[in-house]
Symmetry: C2
Subunit: 432 residues, 2 copies
């Protein structure tokens, strides 16, 4: 019998709330990702969820700014600066690095796994509170391009661990597109064109061309842009085709060279079949300046990008005059988990969180059951002792819900010292 509700007890719309078995699965994924990041030498940090508005609004801009949750100060914190909830990990990281610069070792390999907040319109699969799993490498004054490959390879390995179907990383370099526009004398329209290309996959080709023409671009150039953005595939092929476009721009060439070095290392790292050069990849955020990447599941492209990032020239320019170039990327775990369930991609076995549920046959066996539990816990096992005064059948029903094995302890078992584990999945009984 379920109780009558006195208040609305559902979580606020847009907030993920999971049942224990789902939560265990979610946490398993989070742990897998974290362990991959740590194995790749990333150091964990945590920043507060509440930041000064000044810090957040300095960097937000556009849509994001409207989605920031402001926090009302209490009587006792009234003297504080105005505050709001962080909307990503990058802004707090910039503040953190500016604040603790003299205590950090550079290049700073850093990971942040935690919740962020955006007050967006409610929509299926969009979350207002969501886990992001970020990695970044932040250099002081400079940061070699090799780190771009390390970041991509680390994120790829983390996704691979989730047993996702064929993962494809699409990589480009913003210098190529910038240089291309420079070369065809369209760089005065680069903001507009970047945005059109960024949306090109979501609309029919004609719409993209129409938008380009609306900028007053001649048909020849529209065709050239179309040709450019459709370049995708193995790096060497894309490079050859890019070179045939006849663009004269140092930036363009520099972009190709950088992309080539990143691909060279990615191949060395075993990602050859899983990574393509793709000129449609732009990443809307204007702080990216070099490598940019998005990740899709090849057979589920409709899901969109599940992991993306790129290279930025100066992480914390709004907070400090120290030049801190970096490269980073992020897995949006809350959304990914939701989509994996939606599309049936959850290939991990659902494990019961408890290994053994020990069931005293009657009150008399409670002390010995607690002692047995201590013994198994000492062996790193997850053990529940069912202490309710219900009937044996009810206790077993409870045990089967939370645990893999059940162990009934009655007079007989205590006397003989022979305990048996019942496998709730197979029904088999085995000696404990």
């Amino acid at each position: 019998m379920e109780g009558m509700k006195k208040l609305n007890t559902s979580p606020i719309s847009g907030m993920q709330e999971l049942l224990p078995l789902e939560q265990a699965m979610f946490n398993k994924y989070k742990t897998e990702i974290r362990e991959v990041f740590l194995r790749h030498g990333f150091l964990e940090i945590e920043t507060p969820m509440i930041e000064r508005e000044e810090i957040l609004f300095a960097k937000a801009g556009g849509e994001t700014e409207k989605q920031i949750y402001k926090v009302v100060k209490t009587e006792e914190t009234a003297k504080d600066a105005d505050q709001a909830l962080r909307f990503d990990h990058t802004v707090p990281l910039a503040r953190y690095v500016a604040e603790h610069e003299s205590d950090l070792a550079f290049p700073f390999r850093v990971t942040q796994i935690g919740r962020n907040f955006r007050g967006e319109r409610a929509q299926k699969g969009r979350f207002r509170e969501f886990y992001q799993c970020d990695i970044d490498v932040v250099g002081r004054n400079n940061l070699p391009i090799e780190y771009d490959a390390e970041v991509i390879a680390t994120l790829f390995e983390a996704l691979r661990r989730l047993k996702l179907p064929k993962i494809l990383v699409r990589v480009s370099n913003r210098k190529i597109l910038s240089g291309f526009l420079e070369g065809v004398n369209l760089n005065h329209l680069s903001a507009e064109i970047f945005s059109i290309i960024d949306h090109a996959e979501k609309v029919p080709k004609e719409v993209t061309n129409e938008k380009l023409r609306a900028l007053g671009i001649g048909d020849d150039f529209v065709k050239l842009v179309e040709k450019f953005i459709n370049l995708s595939g193995e790096f060497s092929e894309v490079r050859d085709k890019l070179e045939k476009l006849g663009i004269e721009s140092e930036k363009f060439n520099k972009g190709i060279e950088e992309l080539g070095r990143v691909f060279g290392l990615l191949e060395k790292l075993g990602l050859a079949g899983s990574v393509v050069a793709d000129m449609k990849i732009v990443r809307g955020l204007d702080y990216y300046t070099g490598t940019v990447f998005e990740t899709v599941l090849e057979d589920y492209r409709q899901i969109g990008s599940i992991c993306s990032g790129g290279r930025y020239d100066n992480l914390a320019e709004l907070y400090t005059d120290q030049v801190l170039p970096g490269v980073g990327g992020s897995i949006g775990l809350t959304r990914l988990f939701f989509l994996m369930n939606e599309f049936g991609l959850n290939k991990e076995e659902i494990e019961k969180p408890v290994e053994i549920a020990i069931i005293p046959f009657s009150e008399e066996q409670i002390p010995i059951c607690l002692e047995l539990a201590q013994k198994y816990r000492g062996q790193e096992k997850k053990v529940d002792v069912v202490l309710t005064d219900k009937k044996l059948g009810d206790k077993l029903k409870y045990a089967a819900k939370v645990a893999r094995f059940g162990m009934v302890v009655g007079e007989n078992e205590v006397e003989t010292g022979e305990y048996k584990l019942k496998d709730f999945e197979t029904g088999e009984e085995i000696p404990a």
Copy 2:
């Protein structure tokens, strides 16, 4: 050279922000605690950090209510109910259990480890954002007293794993105090007396007696209360002394009986020397109805309680008409971690987060270094590859900061295939 700040980049006052090595230590403690909870059969859940104000204010009351951070809705969430940040795990748990009751197995052993928020006055060692590590067992309609012992033993084991100096759990049962007041006909003053006893340790004895007298209590009774609250020690001794007080109250006797059962089990669970009955333990929160406990470090009593909790008759009475009795407790990890550092109680070795930093002698060795890194990562090792174009000395300096071992890879090493690990702590070199 440190950069010049353009904005105030310190975290908001009252928010813990750690450097990477401190964070690694903090996370190690968090992991230890979590693993103990899981081994004791507690299931993990997470609730949103933002809740309806209605839910939070229904249960907060008093000081806490003034410390709740309200959240301003954004344009796109304007239609939502009024919202605020959670201030503990108990209120969201009550909502969670009321909401998901039909999907849960009872008794519901549940753990929540996460951040909560209280907008308190800034004060050293007081945090506005802080980790709480909670466990609770929630029953439906009833919950045997044995679970009280399980909860205490689980929390004790978690604290023990942190290698803290002598831990002492002080346990009482609110029914004893309630029954005592009933027996001496002072139950009409129970709220006031509970509060006086709750503060008795923070003031001189005379102040406590003065406060009692101010309630209009006669000298004989003041003496009796004084005698009562000073009862502490081994359970059997305290029980004998309680019985000699000559109180006639069923509740009083019931409290003693419950406390006796809890102690009986705690002794079975090996806590005999670490747990005392102590009539000064009341716990201010009025939802406790039976077992109450606090935990101190015997040689650092000035730190106050580091873990506390108790039994409540009805967790979610404000949200549902289903009766959900429970017992739970919480470790305030952020505060504990701060205090451990203050008092030099941090006995864990500070481990570098990275095991091996691989250092290419020159650019040429980068690819082989990345391959070596992959190999060691495949063996679950935490590996950094130092990809900067700095001098070897600078690379080694960086490596020594983040990693336990360094491995320089030059032409010679590649040729011979003989790699050496330099132990940065001892200076020794060993074959990899």
